[in-house]
């Protein structure tokens, strides 16, 4: 698995994880400006190439979109959404991939220890040697990102090019982008870039431009400038968060269940030591053979 030199901040199904809390590494982020994206798909090709994903068969859905959704062999997808806005036709093209949430729902839901990890720099990655292909991560993710390989059943998604990032390179998609609408750096720097761009857009008639960095998942290591303040127009959830029931299974139901099982087991032992068994009387009348 890539990311060998990075410390793991958080790990799926772990008691305490491996985080030492000693190093403080800055969180990285990818910056996407949908207002300057031209939909050339250089980023799609770069991702396929860098990650040796091979080619996928495209599916015509009535737009330029390559596939209807992400795939285990297609981690980066330009979504095309057309909409009439203020009497004009707008093409909203948005680069869709894993959002690398600060509080990853996939990681929280995953039952296999260490199958999903979050590095100190915020990147969320899958270890296929530990993935059991159960699909819980797909239920935990509010962005419908995790996809499963047909043959192995294992989950695969954008790694934010952790193997490039850990040696000081920018992600493949960022390198390939011809318009400069993709950028990479520390989260703070990318947010500053985004805020500046939103401010600029607002002076150019995009009155409700916004920087999409949802707080419901603790913020994301992918920040997206949206020209219109309607995430749902870009197939984005408006206020995503880790599903309540996922949090409930892990932090409430499971400990309660373990406790209930322990109490019952210990309780039966305690009952036995106090009351003992109910022995039928050996009054001689039965004269039983132990058959």
């Amino acid at each position: 698995m890539a990311g060998q030199t990075l410390e793991i901040k958080r790990s799926s199904a772990a008691m305490w994880g491996t985080h030492t809390g000693i190093r403080s590494t800055p969180t990285v982020a990818k910056y996407i400006d949908t207002t300057t994206c031209i939909g050339c798909k250089a980023c799609e090709a770069a991702c396929q190439e860098w990650n040796d994903l091979g080619t996928v068969e495209t599916e015509q859905t009535g737009t330029y979109q390559t596939l209807p959704k992400l795939d285990a062999k297609f981690w980066n997808l330009i979504r095309f959404n057309e909409r009439e806005v203020d009497g004009g036709l707008m093409w909203m093209m948005r680069k869709d991939q894993c959002m690398h949430c600060a509080e990853p729902g996939c990681l929280e839901a995953c039952p296999a220890p260490g199958a999903i990890v979050q590095y100190g720099n915020g990147i969320v990655d899958v270890d296929p040697s530990k993935c059991i292909g159960c699909g819980y991560c797909a239920t935990g993710c509010p962005f419908d990102v995790p996809k499963f390989h047909v043959k192995s059943g294992k989950m695969a998604k954008c790694t934010l090019c952790v193997d490039r990032v850990e040696v000081g390179l920018e992600p493949a998609c960022v390198k390939a982008c011809p318009t400069g609408c993709l950028n990479f750096g520390t989260k703070d720097d990318m947010v500053a870039l985004g805020d500046a761009r939103v401010k600029q857009l607002k002076t150019s008639g995009f009155n409700d431009a916004m920087l999409y960095d949802p707080k419901g998942v603790g913020g994301t290591s992918v920040v997206t400038v949206l020209g219109h303040g309607h995430p749902e127009w870009y197939d984005l959830p408006v206020d995503p968060n880790v599903p309540v029931l996922v949090r409930l299974w892990k932090s409430v139901i499971r400990p309660v269940g373990v406790l209930a099982a322990l109490v019952t087991a210990i309780g039966t032992f305690a009952h036995y030591t106090k009351y003992g068994p109910i022995e039928p009387p050996s009054d001689g009348e039965s004269g039983d053979h132990p058959n």
Partner: protein, 231 residues
């Protein structure tokens, strides 16, 4: 209701165990062979499902995964063990359904009498072959098996179901399992340490007259024709 004379051959005793609620030698056959085979098949698949499911449920039980070959094996095995458990439980359900209708006498079991029983003070209103608690366990595991199967199928093929159904399925599976585990621990305790003479009923099939007289006086009377308690 047949009584056989003492001094039967081993062959005759074994044949007696093929039928139940009869006396063989000095014991009473409580569970015939088919009942015992069905029960143990259900128990075996239950434990296979439990050992493969608990490591997935919590890393605290990761050690159980080692017994089966690791987490990936658990993920693969669990739905098959669970499905087989359900099929066998269905067979078991129809096998015992006739004995499990709740009677008026059973109702006294749900309430303060149950606690008195736990404190060895009170043995219920002359239970027949199965007392109210046992019947309750039967119905509880029936519902539990259905709950586990439905939620389990959704968890086996999650991508065919919408988000909320998936979330609720995992919740239902978790809660049903926990209740099941509590019930089964109790069932095992009551069938072994708490009540000597009971376990052999499900292995050899027979119980002693004294056991029957004590625990199921109504059944004892039906089978032997004798009064259970000297009043």
């Amino acid at each position: 209701m047949t009584t056989m004379a003492h001094g039967q051959t081993e062959h005759e005793i074994a044949a007696g165990r093929a039928r139940e609620n009869v006396i063989t030698g000095a014991s009473i056959v409580r569970h015939r062979r088919s009942s015992r085979l069905i029960h143990w098949s259900v128990a075996a698949t239950f434990f296979l499902a439990l050992l493969s499911g608990m490591p997935i449920w919590s890393p605290l039980f990761g050690w159980m995964a080692s017994l089966l070959g690791g987490m990936e094996v658990c993920r693969w095995l669990h739905p098959y063990a669970g499905s087989l458990f359900f099929i066998l439980s269905t067979v078991q359900f129809f096998h015992w359904l006739g004995d499990m209708r709740l009677t008026k006498g059973d109702r006294s079991w749900f309430g303060p009498k149950a606690f008195k029983y736990m404190h060895h003070e009170e043995f219920g209103a002359d239970p027949g072959k199965y007392n109210g608690g046992q019947k309750l366990f039967f119905w509880a595991v029936t519902l539990g098996a259905i709950g586990l199967l439905l939620s389990g199928l959704i968890m086996w093929f999650p991508l065919y179901f919408p988000q909320m159904i998936r979330e609720l399925a995992i919740l239902l599976h978790d809660i049903t399992f926990i209740l099941f585990l509590v019930a089964v621990i109790t069932h095992i305790y009551l069938g072994t340490a708490a009540e000597p003479g009971t376990f052999r009923a499900m292995t050899r099939g027979t119980v002693t007259r004294a056991w029957a007289r004590l625990h199921h006086p109504g059944w004892f009377q039906e089978v032997t024709g004798e009064e259970a308690r000297k009043r």
